[in-house]
């Protein structure tokens, strides 16, 4: 995880994250949750809800979903990365999905459609325009194989999307954003990065003290509220002798992750190992 990624999800940012959906969203959540024997099983639908609430499934949305459904954030992240249809922050606001499976790809339908989109938006397949508005990607079967090529965009499903029909839709979409095709010509797109930061390694689980330092490499990225930048200087409250031994060979980060409640303490131990030993 690069430091620049860390910046976007440090604790100061996280402090401003929402704790739940909007009132309407929460009402919907309870509707969904009531239908299932447990909250965890409502996850598929709640993630869809999060997608609507936030426009895409962001870190913030994943945290809320995890809290609401009584699962760990890692489980939510595992789901979000498993299913390809969830909209993620690295997708464009308008996410073009062109079916590339055999039935659509026959007679060059997919390639023709992709070329048309690429020409209009000035990006390659798998890229997003620099302003983040449009992205274009190949996907697998969209189940309308008799009318190729099949395209999905913004909750809409299109069949036989070629030639003037596709052009007209693209124009309409550009117009709705106040853009024209000329705005995108000659401007290279950005590759959609699947490795978007989702769980910073200094992540705190619900109910855990914000002081627990979980990450030791990117200290700059870590700034617990009210304590300023964390440096090698240990805050007084944490500078107590280590009570839980850290296993040999376990580095600071892993040791901290392993002992939940003593995260801060083990941190202290690692930083001032000689003093406590």
């Amino acid at each position: 995880m690069s430091p620049s990624n860390m910046q976007s999800t440090n604790n100061a940012v996280r402090a401003n994250w929402r704790k739940e959906f909007s009132p309407e969203g929460m009402k919907k959540f309870h509707e969904y949750a009531d239908e299932y024997p447990n909250k965890r099983s409502a996850l598929m639908m709640v993630l869809r809800l999060a997608e609507e609430e936030f426009g895409s499934i962001t870190d913030e949305a994943m945290q809320i979903v995890a809290d609401l459904c009584n699962v760990g954030v890692s489980h939510v992240q595992g789901m979000v990365t498993f299913y390809t249809h969830f909209k993620r922050p690295f997708h464009g606001k308008h996410r073009f999905m062109v079916c590339a499976t055999l039935m659509c790809a026959l007679e060059n339908n997919t390639d023709a459609a992709l070329k048309q989109v690429e020409a209009k938006l000035g990006i390659k397949t798998g890229e997003i325009t620099a302003d983040g508005l449009f992205s274009c990607e190949k996907v697998e079967c969209l189940a309308d194989c008799d009318k190729p090529p099949v395209v999905q965009c913004d909750k809409e499903h299109f069949t036989s999307m070629k030639g003037p029909q596709l052009d007209a839709y693209l124009d309409q979409l550009l117009k709705s954003e106040g853009k024209t095709a000329a705005d995108y010509q000659g401007k290279p797109g950005i590759k959609m990065d699947q490795r978007v930061p989702t769980l910073p390694s200094h992540f705190n689980f619900p109910g855990e003290s914000q002081v627990g330092a979980r990450h030791f490499e990117n200290k700059d990225a870590y700034s617990p509220e009210g304590q300023g930048e964390l440096t090698t200087k240990i805050p007084g409250a944490l500078a107590t002798p280590l009570t839980v031994p850290v296993a040999d060979g376990v580095n600071g980060a892993n040791g901290a992750l392993g002992s939940k409640h003593n995260a801060g303490k083990s941190h202290g131990s690692n930083q001032n190992g000689a003093g406590h030993g």
Binding site: R40, S41, F82, T84, H85, A143, D146, F158
Partner: protein, 507 residues
């Protein structure tokens, strides 16, 4: 294009359908097709008109008003709380209805396997994750006649004694989800779903409760596998679970669960309404009834067609599909979704559309997605596309599948770029052999089967894409000259072939 085939239907685009493309190809012929192209039949053909797709071209066919006006929910009303559930199970069993999702397991038998007396609730999970490429039949039921499915769910749940049904749709069915959700809500408002449905629970009769939950997936082929779908409904990654225990014993939330396809459940309503003899008048002895087939590829009139089982495949392609486009010649047919082994034109001639005929030809009826490939199709590129699909969709639990699909894709990719290596055809066959039957679910088989079919019938296409043998020989000589190690290896036959020797060997 297909309007002339259905004189009784307005053939208008469904208002509100979020498609800008042509919607008219969903035509189901109103009259039985002439048997001109068919060989001699053992018994006279019983006239057939579409049952499941009868109303899909009528405006507002998805609304409850439309459904009630055509006698909808009357079957459920007359049976729920009245008929013994065991009678309904026996009726479906006698009708010989087989699962329409792909495996073709007898539905009544599956229902009778449901574990009883466990003290746990029983669930019905309806599989609407229609993700097999080439299949799009459930889309039409979900988008244009969702109440047909809801009534089937009511009857099925009553028969198996379930109080809660889950209907899992794939994430791409945006309109289908909206319409089915609206249909369930409308049925709830009318007291057809919920507590004490159809006015039961009065006059000393026991009440019948039913909750229907519609779940929307998010784009994973593996969730079409029954246990993968259950994992997804439980709120996890769509990982299939090992069987046994089968879902009928331990399925959703560890409770007995029946998993059926959307088309199967929709057909249940009609079978219970019209009876066993009505259903058995069509089809063959082992595959009775009717089925929706999805025709795609190089035919003049692609679309969904509901026909009796057992009709010749030639009739489906030439009469319903109108033959091949632009007078092209048929090269191959994929008969049951992308995972079904391919058929050659000679096999298509003797093939009939039922489970047994296709099994005897080494293929399968599967989900009923027929794709016609014409002579312009590069078979090697087609199989590369197929392998890319399976590699993308492998869930990654089992090594033979996760790695095998990747290898198949990579080797097929070489052929796709005319860079096949000597021995690659054998390598592909070997990978397939080592994938089949060694994984939790059948995705590995689904990937290996089409490859094996293509290798069996279109081996020449692969061999033509192997780099010129003379060129290979030249490479071998060159490398042998500069690399004694490679020479020794290739001489003993122990090492990789000359082209496989990487730069590190050629030092």
């Amino acid at each position: 294009m297909a309007e002339e085939q259905k004189p009784g239907n307005p053939g208008a685009a469904i208002p509100g359908a979020a498609t800008t493309g042509a919607v008219s190809s969903a035509a189901a012929p109103a009259s039985p097709a002439p048997a001109a192209a068919a060989p001699a039949e053992p018994k006279p053909r019983v006239p057939f008109s579409p049952v499941l797709l009868k109303y899909i071209n009528e405006p507002n066919s998805h609304t409850i008003e439309h459904y009630l006006a055509r006698g909808g929910y009357e079957t459920a009303r007359s049976h729920v709380g009245v008929t013994e559930p065991a009678t309904l199970i026996k009726l479906v069993d006698d009708s010989g209805l087989r699962g329409r999702g792909g495996a073709g397991f007898p539905t009544g038998k599956k229902w009778s396997f449901l574990a009883k007396g466990t003290g746990k609730p029983a669930y019905l999970a309806v599989n609407g994750d229609e993700s097999e490429p080439g299949t799009f039949k459930d889309r039409y039921i979900l988008e244009r006649d969702p109440h047909e499915l809801v009534e089937g769910v009511i009857l099925t749940c009553y028969a198996i004694g379930s109080k809660h049904a889950f209907i899992y749709l794939r994430g791409e069915f945006i309109l289908g989800f909206e319409r089915l959700h609206a249909a369930v809500e409308a049925a709830k408002a009318k007291g057809l779903v919920g507590k004490n449905i159809f006015g039961t629970g009065h006059d000393g009769k026991p009440g019948v409760d039913l909750t229907i939950t519609v779940v929307r997936g998010a784009g994973a082929y593996i969730c079409g596998e029954e246990t993968g779908m259950l994992s997804s409904i439980e709120g996890g990654r769509g990982y299939p679970k090992i069987k046994p225990p089968f879902p009928a014993v331990s399925g959703l939330f560890g409770c007995p669960t029946i998993v059926n396809n959307v088309e199967t459940i929709s057909a249940v309503t009609h079978i219970i309404k019209h009876g066993v003899a009505w259903h058995k008048q069509w089809g063959t002895e082992k595959s009775p009834g009717f089925k929706i087939f999805c025709l795609s590829g190089a035919v003049k009139k692609p679309g969904v067609y509901e026909v009796p089982l057992g009709i010749p495949m030639r009739e489906m392609i030439d009469v319903y599909g109108g033959g091949l486009k632009d007078g092209r010649k048929m090269k191959a047919v994929i008969p049951g979704g992308l995972s079904a082994p391919v058929l050659t034109p000679e096999m298509v001639d003797k093939c009939t559309l039922d489970y047994e005929s296709l099994a005897s030809l080494g293929s399968m009826l599967g989900s009923g997605g027929i794709t016609v490939l014409d002579e312009q199709v590069d078979m090697v590129s087609a199989i590369y596309n197929t392998m890319r699909f399976y590699h993308h969709e492998s869930c990654g639990q089992c090594t033979p599948c996760r790695e095998g699909t990747g290898w198949l894709e990579k080797v097929a990719h070489r052929f796709h770029h005319d860079e096949g290596h000597q021995g690659d055809v054998e390598l592909l066959a070997d990978i397939c052999k080592n994938m089949r039957g060694r994984t939790i679910c059948v995705l590995a088989d689904a990937a290996a089967m089409p490859m094996q079919g293509f290798l069996q019938y279109f081996k020449k296409d692969f061999e033509a894409k192997i780099k010129d043998p003379a060129f290979v020989e030249k490479q071998r000589t060159y490398r042998d000259e500069i690399s004694p190690k490679a020479k020794t290896l290739s001489a003993t036959g122990a090492g990789p072939s000359a082209l496989d020797v990487g730069s590190e060997m050629a030092e």
